[in-house]
């Protein structure tokens, strides 16, 4: 993988390290990155995007703890062979937390009763 595959938007309300993790997650889910693919080094990413290397390390660390990436001795980071089983259900739910928070906030702002929203959500999940 090349550092240019990532896009960084410094002005966005989402911190850069989260932007990186989010993109890795999508790239892996979408199949652009397969298991065992090597990731660019922290330095490469930092130099390409002119961002602080510590931000990149933080993103890689977070992705590693989520099980997206695995550290290979002497080679750097690579996409983990199996991502799903290493994560408990609670861990996976935690990933959804920001979206759930946003959803509940919007629902409150629209003054929608909880049961209506839940029913609709349930139907979406079943499909």
């Amino acid at each position: 993988m090349d550092a240019s595959l990532l896009t960084i938007q410094p002005g966005s309300a989402e911190p850069i390290y989260r932007q990186i993790v989010e993109q890795l997650r999508r790239l892996i889910a979408g199949g652009q990155l397969g298991a065992g693919d090597l990731l660019p080094s922290v330095r490469e990413v930092a130099a390409f995007h002119a961002i602080n290397p510590m931000t990149v390390s933080r993103a890689y660390g977070m992705a590693e703890s989520e099980g997206l990436l695995a550290r290979l001795r002497g080679k750097g980071m690579a996409v983990a062979a199996t991502t799903r089983p290493t994560q408990t259900q609670a861990q996976r739910l935690a990933l959804l937390e920001p979206q759930l928070e946003a959803l509940s906030r919007h629902a409150r702002e629209l003054e929608l009763p909880a049961d209506v929203v839940l029913r609709r959500l349930g139907r979406l999940l079943e499909n």
Partner: protein
Amino acid sequence: MNALLQDAHERFDPPLAARGLGHGYEGATVLRCINLDVAPGSVLGLIGRNGAGKSTLLRALLGLLEPTTGEARVFGTPALAMDDTVRQRIAYVPQQPEALAWLTVEQMFDYLSRFYPSWNHAFASDTLARWQLPENKLLGKLSPGERQRVELVRALSSEPDLLVLDEPAAALDPVARRELLREIALRAGEAGITVLFSTHIVSDLERVASEIAFLHEGRLLLHCPVDDTKERYARLWLPARLASSTPTSTLSRRSHADGSVSVVVERDAHGRWPEAHAQPGVRLDVLGLEDLFVEIAE
């Protein structure tokens, strides 16, 4: 043993520290009781409106002016009484530098390199060539952008442990700015140097800064890791009927014409937003750095 002690001493002394730093000119106060510690290896972006006192703070931190109150320390020694071993470790580029206008670029580098034991000649000549800076032109005849680039190359060539830049990007074009940010970011990440720079271009800061400090009317309003600004602070908008239930501890407060109020709030120790955000009709917006800056500085 002594060397060990000194080593330990140096490791724990922050590159820059201010205690109760205050300054004023002719009755006008520019800095009010600034307390600041810049951790080794961090890239601290100092942000504030024009006239907020950013340049004065940088100069006070480096002992370039005599503060009216308080003290600044550089690597543990008082800024006004630094010795040469500390000076070797610092590089500073003022806003719109104009020093040594009567020398050519080459002469200036020749002159300064004599004083810095760790001067990187190869880096200097490479970067001057890469940034298309004419070596045999008089400094006084360079354009402001060229002049600033020369000073930045000068500062980086002395291989400093602490780099202080006052509005480094103001006179640079986008490409040169990106190059500078890259250099700062990599040096901080790899050589572990500490960088303090002031700016009002927020996107630069978001790229390379690890920490951010807001200076407003001579006061330090906020000093935290740059990611925290996006995760810990948000804008809370309350309609007119709820204006009275505004949280008490807010960073800024603005009343709008229709009676509604918007405030900048912070998560508490458990990561929760203030109570008010759960009420119907209240809106909570996560802010980018620029919006946060505008909210606080207005």
